[in-house]
Amino acid sequence: MNWRKLFSFAAAGAICAGFLPGCTSPAKNSSKTGGSSKVTIQVAVSGSAQEIAVHQQKFDLYTSKHPNIKIQPINIGDDRVQKTLTLISAGSAPDILYVNEYTYVFAAKGVLHPLDDQIKRDSFDISTFNESLLVPLRYQGKLYALPQEVSPFVIYYNKDMFQAAGLPFPTDKWTIDEFYTDAKKLTNPSKKVYGYRQPTNWPDQILGWLSRGGVDFDISGKTVDSSLNTPQTLKVLQFLHTMVAVDKVSPNPAELTAMGKGADVVFRNQKVAMESQGLWMLPQYKAEPLAFQWDIVRVPKDQNQRTKAGILNWAISTSSHNMDAAWDLLKFMVGPDGMKIVAKNNMALPASKDTAANQIVLDSKFPPNVKAFIDSVPDVDLRDERSTVRDQVNTEINDEVERMLLNKESPEDTQKALVQKIDAILAQAQSK
């Protein structure tokens, strides 16, 4: 045999094989029942190394109790939707999906398996979850996911700056007027210090104010005329316009974007006295303590005290070959054992009312008013997640309100533009 020929073939073959990783193949899951053979469950995970480590803790605890189950985490990175879509198209979607705010969309597209039968069969008590968190997980009456973590938005405030301005510390019952007066007093234009940071490119931070203003923003229907073409909406838009463009109590969107990563640390650098975040700042503030006294307080009350939240939901994909095993793992993760692990790691709240888990959070006493997070959960408003076009609508809201905050559009014109543009998007979605 000609060795050169053999070598050439091998080399050419190796180069061809280099292209193979570009192709994916359907996941091969052992669907053998029986205690002796291992069943592999694939679970999509995402987030920072710390967050993935928390998920791994849950997996390890589960496999220690179920030795015949092997759990394979699939890291879907930061571009979660894109990666999930790719895996679904390739036919290798993990058994358990990391769906969060996309539950409704994925359910509407038939990607998720409804959980009602399993819940009924196992008499799984879903009353341990706040109804506010289950609202966006239902599609056409069926429940498609269960919540693991919730991170309600609260207001972080700089105690030192409040004291220096002679202002009393805010309480959980404070009103929007008290908030605004405080923010105004804390603003010092000559020193480029602001009372509050109204974030940009974060539509939930606009929707939060709308919700508190009594606007029942709902994009699950054909039009937003009934919810957005109201005096309440105009009042909220005028409030934001005054705060950012007129009184300049907050940096405007252009200034915030120009700051780049600097915008994330304006609270740490004492350039703003207050800002709105969830629990995700806690690990940072613990690892690198702030140079001043600070605490948290619930969002100020307008017509109500509703707030937005970050949320982690698990669902089972329709293409799973191990429905029962996946459901068992899901049940475990959102059950008392899983929730205790969430609580111990202090990065998000357990999504259930489980007393033991929530007590761990309260006992951490970090920050002092940590109960503000737990008290906010029943008031979490996620109703706008019930839509297949939420991202597109949110982009329009962000762009339109940004124009208003840069003083390029009046609140009245912004309101009209919002109704018109969102209705156009909803009409398109209906026609498909």
């Binding site: 050419a12 939707v81 879509l85 490119n201 252009a254 120009a258 597109q392 762009d399 840069l406």
Partner: protein
């Protein structure tokens, strides 16, 4: 004879080429047959063996050529050509990425014609390209002429100019973002010291795109300069000597010798720049995130959002094809314009 043959062989006229091909091949075949017949009559066995070895040697080489070309061809077909064709198909459908596509014909393209966001992004992309490519190419030419000078440490300067090209776009964008800061940035600091106007740079809707353009020109300068430098070094010094004898000044030499002689290199720089600028994404999204107020929002971002956030892959594919057509037409025009000059 050769000229005529070339003109015929490379004639754009298909019928001419076919006729000539047929005439050529039949003539060649006749001649080969004659030679073979003549040889066979002399040494039948030897000729047969010779023929076999000749054929197998030629086809042997061809075979191995194909084997080694195979991986790249297969890869190109599978990962470039096939997706391009499928993308054209998806552009004619309404496809959310999960459920099967629904054929809508040119519905997507009609919708695009009236889509405010698309038209605005298209304008921004064109603005960015017009700002970056011609100015960048001209500045690169000046730099290339400078780097061609026989001065000390010229290699150090060449390296210095090329470094921005190899540094990560994201890292460069973040540094420039800080430099552009209207209150604390280095640029406004210097402008202030010189008593000049300190623009709000990235915080203003009118200054944001120029800011991104300036940074992009700076980053691509080295690459273009190196290519143009190679072109300049290929110009015969006798031309410059002749011009000096005729009393031409430096600037005259530049405009009348350097610029015309490197028009092919320049064409490459311009087309390459055009293709790249139309697809730009990284530096814009780090520095301005498409803002403020969509003043720097470009097409590539819109395509991404439509495909992977709005679940409108059909619409995004149609957008991508329009982008492709624009770049294609612009490149063809550019090639045509630079081909006109023949020396």
């Amino acid at each position: 004879m050769l000229k005529i043959a070339c003109r015929v062989l490379f004639s754009p006229n298909k019928s001419v080429r076919t006729w000539k091909h047929n005439a050529c091949s039949s003539a060649i075949m006749k001649r080969t047959a004659n030679i073979l017949a003549a040889r066979e009559s002399v040494h039948p066995v030897l000729i047969k063996m010779g023929r076999k070895r000749k054929i197998s040697l030629a086809s042997n080489e061809n075979f191995w050529a194909y084997v080694f070309l195979a991986p790249i061809i297969i890869g190109f077909l599978a990962f470039t050509i096939f997706p391009v064709i499928m993308s054209f198909y998806y552009g004619l459908t309404s496809y959310d990425g999960i459920t099967s596509p629904k054929f809508v014909g040119i519905g997507n393209y009609i919708e695009l014609a009236s889509d405010e966001n698309f038209l605005k992004s298209l304008w921004n992309t064109v603005y960015f390209t017009l700002g970056t490519v011609p100015v960048g190419a001209f500045l690169a030419l000046i730099v290339a002429v400078g780097l061609n000078a026989k001065i000390h440490f010229v290699n150090l300067y060449r390296t210095a100019f090329f470094i921005p090209v190899v540094v990560s776009t994201v890292a460069v964008s973040m540094v420039w973002q800080w430099m552009y800061n209207q209150d604390y940035g280095l640029i406004n600091l210097f402008l202030g010291k010189l008593g000049l106007y300190q623009p709000p740079w990235l915080a203003s809707t009118s200054w944001s795109m120029p800011s991104v353009i300036i940074m992009s020109i700076w980053k691509g300068l080295g690459f273009n300069a190196v290519i143009l430098l190679a072109g300049i070094q290929g110009i015969s010094p006798s031309l410059y000597e002749a011009a000096e004898i005729d009393g031409a000044s430096g600037i005259q030499k530049f405009w009348h010798i350097t610029v015309p002689m490197i028009h092919e290199c320049m064409a490459f720089v311009l087309i390459n720049g055009l293709i790249g600028s139309f697809q730009t994404f990284d530096q814009i999204y780090v520095m301005t995130n498409g803002g403020p107020a969509q003043s720097t929002q470009v097409i590539s971002w819109l395509i991404y959002m439509n495909a992977f956030r709005y679940f409108k892959q059909g619409y995004a594919s149609a957008m991508a094809y329009i982008l492709f057509l624009i770049i294609f037409i612009a490149s063809i025009l550019q090639l045509h314009l630079s081909e006109k000059k023949n020396y």
